[in-house]
Amino acid sequence: MTRSMKGIIGALTLGLAAACSLAAISSASAEELSLKGKRIGVSAIGTDHYWDLMAFKGIQDRVKELGGEVIALDAGRKDQQQIAQLQTLIAQTPDAIIEQLGNLEVLNPWLQKIRDAGIPLFTVDTATPHAINNTTSNNYNIGAEIALQMVADMGGKGNVLVFNGFYSVPVCKIRYDQLKYVLTSFPDVKIVEPELRDVIPNTVQSAYSNVTDMLTKAPEKGSIGAVWACWDVPQIGATQAVEAAGRNEVKTYGIDGSPEVIKMVMDPKSSAGAVAAQQPYEIGKTSVDNAARYLAGQKVAPFTFVPAVLINKENAAEKGRPFLDAAEKAGVK
């Protein structure tokens, strides 16, 4: 077991090094970028979540900064609306389209149509063969790191409640698959079946009642060790439910780094165990830079990773602060 653990950590370090050098390359070529006279279409499935709003804002701010015109479209979590917006956007023939999140199964045929219409497509956090570049966090890393943190906190054994309602969202798929992969090395950590479903909207309330129900079903202390979700809004509800039930032995894990959750992890008394904090605003900005480079005739890699940080109970005081400051600076609560 120790050997396999070492192997995993070794692989992680390698991956991290690769990610860092990639980031270094992309920042090394930071030259004078411009989008003067260009129209950039931006389509987001929704902006009701901190991450989504920050990335959406990052894209728009950067396009304006570079002198371009933005056509910003927020589908309000409605697939129908996003498809209609993309269809009209294709007819508007912008110089490039940046697409942010959504259901890949729904989107793919329409992303194909964007390329068929000769419009360069860039995506944020959405891995699809149709995009010239996808700018995102290294979700393979994030997924493994948060899973390993959870396993370590659980002492390598126990039961986990897992929210798996968004497997059709590519980043959630990667993080979930990484969790499963990590758990293959720790057979004593078991996912409780059936898995829970996180939902949008009413994510927090629904997670709260799901976790409360499961804790009621397993009343002995220690019968549940952790709660995992591929993002951190269910984590809010889960943490509240654990604390309300007085089951402080249960720790919660999530990904994204909403200010609320970072504050929870920073609070030593809170049951929030760790959160992998991303830089959504930077991710949005970087995708625009990629589009600008491409439009200037430069070569762009198929994906760009923007670094993320694992914030846990030990490092929260030091690592959490910069993220809270960034959120404040962007004016998003």
Binding site: E69, Q80, Q81, I83, A91, E105, R197
Partner: protein
């Protein structure tokens, strides 16, 4: 004697006053109605002048295509309002229609993904849609529950069944029929747009050019008179709810084709469906819902969303404008109803 004479005189003068007042109101209603239509036309005209690419054939066909699902659902809603009467609190209304579409889409996509063919899957979706419609009919006609409450309850039943079936996930689907709906076209008009055109022609023909349609209006407009004339009111009202369920099933096939999947959240469409059915009454002289009026308002909503995007106005405004228009139309409608009610 004297007292009776005085009394009857008073009644007569009250009546003349009332009819003068109602004539005044009717004139007022006419002015407001034309004003509303002028506002609609004004908005479209503004788009024509200022929104780049608004009038291109490609864009207009896009709008028709984008309106297909809303249109088919709005026809279902309109039929229920026609058959049940357009009183906002006690008349016909089907709040379950959007959730029903979600359930049908889930059934259709799930069966396709399990390997059943188009034929069986479509039939199953239609059967489910009509069954939900029949449940509405049972609650409203059989049990005499207010449609507003009955269909609200059925909304929850349908939404719950959809969640149970899909576990709130996206169910991907592909089939020859879906492929045809996505990429088929005839005379430069896409299959989805054709679906709306043909379905519109069908419902307009049935509701406005057959004696069956006339009877539906009679049942909705004045149930007692319809009963006295020998019409089976329960049958006609039930028919509208089942038809509404059928529309939900048809719309579900269109929605699965457009999204290549059944996805959660179909219930969101309800507001737009209600808006389309209610806005449509403005296009009728007597403020009654008509299929043609519904079609115009569906296209208007589609053009509104499209025009805003072309003008680069935030999509956040669309909901607000849509809500304001509903308020305006409902206000006009109750104003006009007031004149009929006082008679």
């Amino acid at each position: 004697m004297n007292a009776t004479a005085l009394h009857s005189e008073a009644v007569v003068s009250d009546e003349t006053r009332a009819s003068a007042k109602s004539a005044g109101r009717r004139f007022g209603a006419l002015v407001v109605r034309l004003g509303a239509i002028a506002a609609f036309a004004g908005i479209i005209f503004y788009f024509v002048l200022l929104a780049p690419g608004f009038t291109s054939t490609f864009n207009l066909i896009n709008v028709v295509e984008q309106s297909a699902i809303l249109g088919v659902l709005a026809y279902g809603m309109t039929s229920v309002i026609i058959g049940g009467g357009s009183d906002v609190t006690e008349g016909g209304i089907d709040l379950s229609i959007a959730a029903n579409m979600g359930l049908c889409a889930a059934v259709y996509a799930t069966l396709l993904s399990m390997g059943y063919g188009d034929m069986l899957s479509v039939l199953a979706a239609i059967a489910v849609g009509m069954a939900v419609g029949a449940l509405n009919a049972l609650a409203v006609v059989g049990l005499g529950i207010l449609p507003l409450l009955a269909t609200l309850a059925v909304l929850n039943v349908a939404a719950g069944m959809e969640l149970t079936l899909t576990q709130n996930t996206v169910v991907g689907a592909s089939s020859p029929l879906l492929g045809f709906l996505v990429s088929g076209s005839f005379l430069g008009i896409s299959a989805l747009a054709w679906a709306l055109i043909l379905f519109s022609a069908l419902v307009i023909a049935v509701f406005h050019y057959t004696s069956f349609g006339l009877r539906l209006y009679a049942v909705g407009g004045h149930p007692e008179a319809a009963r006295a004339a020998g019409l089976s009111v329960p049958f006609y009202v039930s028919f509208t709810y089942v038809l509404s369920g059928f529309c939900a099933a048809v719309a579900s096939v269109l929605t699965v084709s457009r999204l290549s999947a059944s996805t959660p959240g179909s219930g969101e469409l309800l507001l737009s469906v209600l808006a389309a059915a209610l806005l449509g009454t403005v296009f009728s002289r007597r403020f009654v819902p008509t299929m043609g009026g519904t079609l115009l308002s569906v296209l208007f909503i589609g053009l509104l969303v499209n025009g805003f995007q072309l003008l680069n106005v935030s999509s956040y405004w669309v909901n607000g404008v849509q809500g304001a228009l509903i308020l305006l139309v409902v206000a006009i409608t109750s104003f006009a109803r007031g004149s009929e009610g006082s008679r």
